[in-house]
Subunit: 124 residues, 2 copies
Amino acid sequence: MKYSKQRELILNCIKENPRHLTADSIYEIVKKDNPNLSLGTVYRNLAQLVEHDMILKISISGEPDRYDGNVDDHLHFLCLDCGKVQDLFLDELTAIRSLVEQRGDVKIESFDILLKGTCSECKK
Amino acid sequence: MKYSKQRELILNCIKENPRHLTADSIYEIVKKDNPNLSLGTVYRNLAQLVEHDMILKISISGEPDRYDGNVDDHLHFLCLDCGKVQDLFLDELTAIRSLVEQRGDVKIESFDILLKGTCSECKK
DNA sequence: CTACCTGCAAAAGGTTTGCATAGCC
DNA sequence: GGCTATGCAAACCTTTTGCAGGTAG
């Protein structure tokens, strides 16, 4: 992958924002530092970063995709009230992974786990 | 929900097809019995059936959504080779659910788990 | 110099919606 | 009869793509 200023800015933006931004939000943010950035470039770079396992793509039904700078195995929790996505790390995921591989006789490449409900903030 | 012929046909189509069809495939199939069905009607009914917990919507990044007639807690495995989605039932999901609820201090409404990899057929 | 990257704008693809009509209860 | 569902087509929104020019190595 050849260096590009745009890609660096996009990656930084994702790493600095733990909020699981959409392509469009990233575009808006990075554009402040690089005014003639184009949305197409954002999408192209996001695709490459995902391809190279440098970020994760989170796909939520009926909403634009979001991107996550943390590529370690973890799951996502979407709050149906406030719309925030939070990361959850569970050691048990490894166990589940091998359990599924045995039980289903499959080879798992990736885990996309999205839980939906109400977050601690909104439960109050 | 008022009865409609279209909705009945759509629901039957999903229940009869264990293949996790897309809205468009459902449209094509049901149209054989009901030639002047429209795609919009299919989408509207799918949304209602999901709303009433009669079917499940499976969202796969970069692909059209699919629909599942089985609403019991289970996970999905997408084969990256052949594209088939298979259901996997794991008792351990219940444990995971309460684990997450405790650990993350959240209330879970729904579970969307999509594993990707190679299925037993394609592993050969 | 060459291959990859960018900006722009147009196109694609899936899904939603407005409107007038038809069908259930 | 009233309210919901339908068909049709246009609109929507996110994402992708073609092209001509720019930039890293």
